[in-house]
Symmetry: C2
Subunit: 374 residues, 2 copies
């Protein structure tokens, strides 16, 4: 294809695959798309290992890395982390304990605060810069920032290395701000997307962002898991698409089996934008967890970000472990970030088949449009 983004990144097909699983990233890149590894869960050492593996797998084909960078790389965050757990009110800790007990989650697992340290490290300057430094040592073709405008250090390091910087946005105003901060590529993400999303739908957001930031190229995200949806996104003016949910049910995805089964069974009505996991609205499977936090009578209401993450992630680790053992209460609670396209995901396929099906259906959709408009 001939979009500017294909030329910029040297790819055949402007299909971007965001995934936390290196196997998905490699499969999509090798099939002619562009895999992007979500690196927030990794230590710098682990990321180095993953990217070394990827370099070996893709034989010079391009892939990217997505890091969760705070708006400012503030070294004092390292100290503030110590106080973060203290800032979690007792009634929020108590509510989590109550939920685990109410749903009979047996797995003792880690103490609820165990993941807090790791999270704290990742959102510090040292953590984010460490990941970026590691990423830029590898043959990456793109670095993406999922939260807030990319900090100047990140932009200048990426520029020096000749690596374009992408930024995800949910409003026109954020798109303008990201471009002003140096983003080379905007991912306009509609409310139907999985994970942190705004309120504006892809259909409405994409043309407005395209017009606001031209000639900066825009990818569309949210609601895209088929070739028809990709063709629609590009009719809106996008130069390519950024997909996340569709990879969760691929063969290569390391999605926990109990979660994968829930995803395959879910309809497009089974997601909800909820603050119950991170403190910011994030689309995810509706489950007893989201229901209890968002409308349960005993709920203290979610905290903000990052406190709610500290509260939630330890509990979700226990719930996930118990769900894999088949505990009914844990199966009610367990969920995952996913977009409304979850209703289209009804079987497990190799990632490369998803890519080829998308490309094939995209061509058919364009041909149908061309015929209709003759």
């Amino acid at each position: 294809m001939r979009t500017g983004i294909c030329q910029l990144l040297g790819i055949e097909f402007p299909l971007f695959a965001f995934s936390h699983c290196r196997d998905v990233v490699a499969a999509v890149t090798n099939a002619g798309g562009f895999g992007v590894l979500g690196a927030v869960a990794y230590s710098p050492e682990r990321l180095d290992t993953e990217l070394t593996w990827l370099d070996e797998q893709v034989g010079g084909r391009p892939y990217g890395v997505d890091v969760l960078v705070p708006g400012k790389l503030d070294d004092s965050a390292l100290d503030r982390r110590v106080h973060l757990m203290d800032a979690v009110p007792d009634r929020h800790r108590d509510f989590v304990t109550h939920l685990l007990s109410k749903y009979g989650v047996s797995a003792p697992g880690q103490p609820l605060s165990a993941t807090a340290d790791e999270f704290g490290r990742r959102v510090t300057a040292a953590g984010a810069t460490g990941l970026i430094d590691v990423a830029l040592k590898h043959r990456i073709g793109l670095i993406a920032s999922a939260l807030g405008p990319p900090p100047p250090e990140m932009v200048s390091r990426a520029r020096d290395a000749g690596v374009p910087v992408a930024a995800l946005v949910g409003t026109v105003e954020h798109a303008r701000r990201q471009v002003a901060a140096g983003a080379d590529l905007i991912v306009a993400q509609g409310t139907e997307a999985g994970g942190h999303t705004g309120e504006i739908s892809t259909m409405v957001l994409v043309p407005q962002v395209v017009d606001a930031v031209a000639p900066v190229p825009v990818l569309a995200a949210g609601g895209i898991a088929s070739g028809r949806q990709m063709a629609a996104a590009m009719a809106l003016g996008a130069e390519g698409v950024w997909c996340g949910s569709v990879w969760l049910t691929t063969e290569e995805a390391e999605t926990a089996p109990a979660v994968k089964r829930k995803l395959l069974a879910a309809s497009s009505l089974d997601t909800v934008r909820s603050r119950s996991r991170t403190g910011k609205p994030a689309r995810q499977l509706r489950s007893a967890w989201t229901e209890e936090w968002d409308s349960g009578q005993e709920s203290p209401g979610p905290l903000g970000m990052p406190l709610q993450m500290l509260v939630a992630e330890g509990a979700m680790a226990r719930i996930g472990a118990a769900a894999e053992k088949g505990e009914p209460g844990a199966l009610e609670l367990v969920n995952y970030y996913v977009g409304q396209v979850v209703g289209q995901l009804d079987r497990v396929r190799p990632a490369k088949d998803v890519v080829y099906d998308l490309i094939g259906e995209f061509g058919e959709a364009v041909e149908r449009l061309r015929r209709l408009s003759e």
Copy 2:
């Protein structure tokens, strides 16, 4: 264009314009699209007058009528209406009185219950059947049902008259139900649309509905106010588009001037799905009215449909009148049903210019897609 729906209805361009204003309906039909008059606000006598005028204006070109038909045509509703106002709790009446006072709405207007009678009449068997009878005496090309499956009487009368029946849906399940009830055409409406909407976005909903009801033709609604968005909708598999919001700011629209100014100034972030006007989630401009009902500390919470309509419509009539006088409090409260595309509406244009711009941009979008995919 060559979609099945163009052939079925004898139109040049599958662009459907839903409007309560006959001038918009006539202008769109005469420009090669298909105007649909929202008839719920009319008495049978008034509807007869409007359609006679339309017949004269469009010179045989096709247009349609949209009626709000209850799921069942139940004659006992006529009696139940008497009890409806009694079912409105005092604290809801009191809250409305309080709001009008708090925002200094001076217009004495009608008593709050005055519109209830009219509403009651419209949702009875006599009201709905009366409108349908009137509509079928004119040269209409389509009859649309906005609420629930079309009742058997409506389908059989329309069939006898050779008039296709369209039905609006927000989920795949509702689409299947509508087709089973005899709908000839489905309008799949995404959450970004104005008025009563579901939760699923147009991008996600349309392909699922198209696949579920094939070969029944599907129009896409929600998020469509430009040629790029129309091309996107048709890439998703729709045979045409159904637009409402974009006509509200046309020259022909009888939108109240104060509301029109609010619509022109609004961004796509300025709408909300709120139950505060009808009792069911309907997308509308965010205003002091929606804020007070949905998150005000004194709010008793909206009632269900139709009770909340009885509570709201009398107050909104007063508010609208006061807003036109420039009263600041009324201007804070006043709002209207509109979709997220409101952010794209920034000037007043003749309706035919909207049609021609849409057609032109549609062609450009298809051509761009074709070139990109070469």
